[in-house]
Amino acid sequence: MPFDRFSRRSFLQGAAAGTAAAALGFPSLARAQSGVTIGIVYVGPKDDFGWNQAHAVSIGVLKATPGVKIIEEENVPETAAVAKSMESMINLEGANLILATSFGYFNPFMVDVAKKYPKVTLRHAAPLWEKGKHPDNAGSYFGYLDQAHYVNGVAAGLSTRTNKIGFVAAKPISSVLRNINSVLWGARSVNPNATLQVIFTGDWALPVREAEAANALIGAGCDILTCHVDSPKVVIETAERRGIRSLGHNASQAPLAPKGFITGAEYKWETIYRIFAEAIAKGQTVPNMVFGGYDRDMVRNTAFGAGAEEPARKAAEAAIADLKANKPIIRGPVKDNKGNVVLPNASYDNFDRVLDGMNFLAEGVVGSIT
């Protein structure tokens, strides 16, 4: 493209923006815009091939809704910066719905912003909001990915020859621990001898350490690998290279492992964002609490890859059918891997809020959370 066209267009854009910026000096003008402006905050780059990208892609559902304007901001740390980013969206651009997509945004930052701006609606992507305890204009939405990990586990339990499944995890927090335990429970439901070994890397994106952890797990005899880190690419590719099989996380990693990929756990954020879009189209407020798993089509498993054998496919499909019918995953009493009874009841509903704060590694998991 010739340079003069570049510069002329840029100049016109700039001039227009200058006028707009002058006008926006008065927040009331910005507020007067019609329609819904949705501000979305991401904790990392939105093309990270992981958590943030899963959200950013699904947001497309909302983008297509008439009268909706989307404003996005990436790499916002879980500090005062996120409160100010949300306020900036509200004050300077008239955002009236804020979607905060990282765990650490909620308390105190999003809660404070919600109190300060009662007319703005805020929603947070984790099951943390509680009615009465937190402001009414705040709320949560979440897909219970542990169900898809459970299905992963079922497939893995029938695929492993060594009875050892490896799991590379970032940090010992509830959502990660629940996914780890769910893989084991899935595997044990079809293969009582299955064990799962976990290595924590200590942070969400440490590619070299993830590769080291994957190699260490393979060295320890694991013949199936899965993970819960920001981007599973390194773990899946390492497994493929070492000639063992793998299970995905967060998005489809099937193309990364053409030989050994079995299946993977994926969010279906678009189901939730579609619920939001429908509410907006009808002029309603989006619901305070939207969550679900297989029962409400909010998670899925990646289409089976070449690593999935017939028995594993069948068992996984049966498990999915059970989950769609809300059959409980957890049959108690459940012991942790130190022998303490941690879940005493005979069975737990898949969405029991006791499970949201899961803080143990189940019996059969090799590893420790401290």
């Binding site: 780059p45 070994q197 290595i199 924590f200 994106a205 080291e212 320890a220 981007s231 590719e237 090799v366």
Partner: protein
């Protein structure tokens, strides 16, 4: 798992780790060693490393040739080194601070241009199965070696020889030890430093491409996690000697593998400290070696670090 097989697992992992993880350390350290031998310090090699990783991956993805990517990564690194040298040749400019600035700058470019390459898979560099003789899969795996590792070892020995026995080696050492002496001998001090810093940048770029094109063999923004910075520290306790750089890089690789492999045999307590082992190790080695008379004798006289 019984004790002895656990020990074998950890040892195999650490040897494997030394081989897999040490290569980027080795290249960056050798590059920084050259630069520091000329009397300058380039703290910006972290940015150079990441830029090399990104550009190598991008070129490999577009052309299908990882070796071409490697070369381009080296040249990108060389440009960064040249920039450092050109700014530092201005009087009154602090080379340590320029390094920090160049680190931010390199990370900025790499992240800005690298967005499009996070998702695609680029062709990787191949490896040589040197462990074919063993029936133990762990040993076999540990000895799966990338040619760059061998090139790095050869380079360390070559540089050790060249610094002692060749005329360019001598000129480089004189320039680093005493600018006045180099000028008196009629050597173009600024040109020599420019070449040394550019060469250092080239090697750091290669080190970065190893990360993205071989191990872990993928590009994203968290790829390096401070390896370029640690390599600079490594040069100091290797006391500016290429062979000791090689040992130090191997030690770092092994220390990096310690955390995950201990967890693999069930030692999980305090994994944060095992993961921080390379940093703690570096600090203690620096404390142990830096203050000695030997270290002061080996240090290039013009180096801002030791003044």
């Amino acid at each position: 798992m019984d004790g002895s097989s656990a020990l074998v697992t950890v040892l195999a992992a650490m040897i494997g780790g030394a081989i897999r993880v040490s290569t980027p350390f080795l290249f960056v350290a050798l590059g920084e060693m050259l630069t520091e031998r000329s009397g300058r310090i380039n703290l910006g090699l972290e940015g150079t490393l990441v830029l090399g990783a990104m550009s190598g991956y991008a070129i490999s993805y577009h052309t299908g040739s990882p070796w071409l990517g490697l070369l381009v990564a080296g040249f990108a690194g060389m440009m960064m080194g040249t920039l450092h040298a050109l700014i530092c040749r201005l009087p009154k400019v602090n080379d340590i601070a320029v390094g920090i600035a160049l680190m931010l700058f390199g990370l900025g470019i790499a992240f800005f241009l690298g967005k499009a390459y996070i998702q695609p898979t680029a062709p990787r560099l191949g490896s040589i199965p040197l462990g074919f003789w063993s029936s133990n899969p762990q040993i076999e795996q540990a000895l799966e070696i990338n040619p760059l590792f061998l090139i790095g070892i050869a380079l360390a020995f070559f540089l050790a020889w060249a610094l002692k026995n060749t005329r360019p080696g001598l000129i480089l050492r004189v320039t680093g030890d005493s600018e006045a002496a180099a000028r008196a001998l009629g050597h173009p001090v600024m040109l020599i430093r420019l070449m040394a810093t550019a060469a250092g940048g080239f090697l750091a770029g290669i080190g970065g491409a190893f990360l993205s094109l071989y191990y872990p063999g993928s590009w994203n923004e968290g790829l390096s996690s401070g390896q370029g910075l640690m390599a600079v520290a490594l040069v100091i306790f290797a006391r500016w000697d290429p062979i000791r750089c090689l040992y130090a890089a191997m030690l770092f690789g092994a220390a990096g593998a310690l955390g995950p492999s201990l967890q693999a045999i069930g030692i999980t307590q305090g994994y944060y400290f095992f993961n921080a082992a390379p940093y703690i190790l570096t600090l203690f080695l620096m404390i142990g070696s830096a203050g000695s008379k030997k270290a002061l004798r080996d240090a290039p006289g013009e180096l801002a670090l030791t003044r």
